[in-house]
Each structure stands twice: as C-alpha cells, then as structure tokens.
Symmetry: C2
C-alpha cells in the first residue's frame, strides 16, 4: 500500500484518477488534459499501474487505462482506522 500512498502524493496523478473516474481513456487522451509531455504522463500512468490504482489494456494502436478501485478501498480502510481511535476498544 506504500506505493499507492506515494502514487497519490502527486497532483497530476490524482487528476488522472479523477479523469478515469468518469470513464476509461487511452494514454493520448489522458495526456491531452495536461500541459506536460506525453512521456511524463506515461511515467505517471506507469506509477499508478505499479500501485494497482489503474489497469491498462491494449486496444489496437491505443492503450486503454481504467481505474482500479480495490487499492483505493484499502487506502480508505487505513484512513478510516486512523479516524477511529483504538479499533479494539469496543464492539457494540
């Protein structure tokens, strides 16, 4: 989960996740939303992929990126635990 936290630390990568929340997109269309170069976006996409936050699938000439929410849920779980002082203290 450390990789996911690190991936989420960058504003560009968070914005990519927000784009993908709406719909899956290919690398080029994602890159068009930003001012930085395509190779940089490709690098960010790779980090998101390593972190398990997105999945990629080649579709002909394009590569389609899709949000993958399992790890997001894991991170949310960690955060939720922080909010609840001592998860062992009571059960009811």
């Amino acid at each position: 989960m450390n990789e996911a936290f690190k991936a989420l630390a960058d504003p560009t990568r968070r914005e990519i996740l927000q784009l993908l929340r709406e719909k899956s997109m290919n690398a080029g269309d994602i890159a068009d939303h930003f001012k930085i170069s395509k190779p940089s976006i490709s690098h960010h996409l790779n980090l998101l992929k390593q972190a398990g936050l997105v999945m990629d699938e080649r579709q002909g000439q394009h590569i389609l990126y899709t949000l993958h929410t399992t790890v997001v849920e894991d991170v949310m779980g960690w955060m939720f635990n922080i909010l609840n002082k001592k998860d062992k203290e009571e059960s009811s």
Copy 2:
C-alpha cells in the same frame, strides 16, 4: 489537501499517525519508537503539522503531539468520491 497527501506518502509519518491514534504523545516518546534520529522525527512532525494532520502543544519541557482528524476526513472524502463513478449521475 496536497500537503496532506504528500505527508501521508511517507511510511514513518503514517506510523506516527497510527501511534497518535492510540494516544497523544510528546516528541521524545514518538522518536523512541523509531530508529532514526530525533531531528529527523522532528522534521516529520513538522510536515504532519503543516499538513494539518497533527497539532502540537507545549507542556513544560515537552511538546505534546495530537492527531487532528479534520484533514484525514477531507482526504477520505476525496477517496470516496473516486470510488463513486460520477457523483452527479443520480440523486436517489
């Protein structure tokens, strides 16, 4: 919220937050939980403070650090939004 995401990206800082979830602690006691130097811990505590994730309060010779959950909730909200594709799509 960017500072909070960046603060959460470091494993030592996340561990500090987990310590403080149990109870408020002073800088020295926090540092004793780690192998790294006190100045390094002080630096991490400062970043957590800048991010709004902890608060500090001098108590005599010691400085007491306390978890501050408002920003954690903000981050959770962001994550929650990512999980729900298109928050505008329906209301019921």
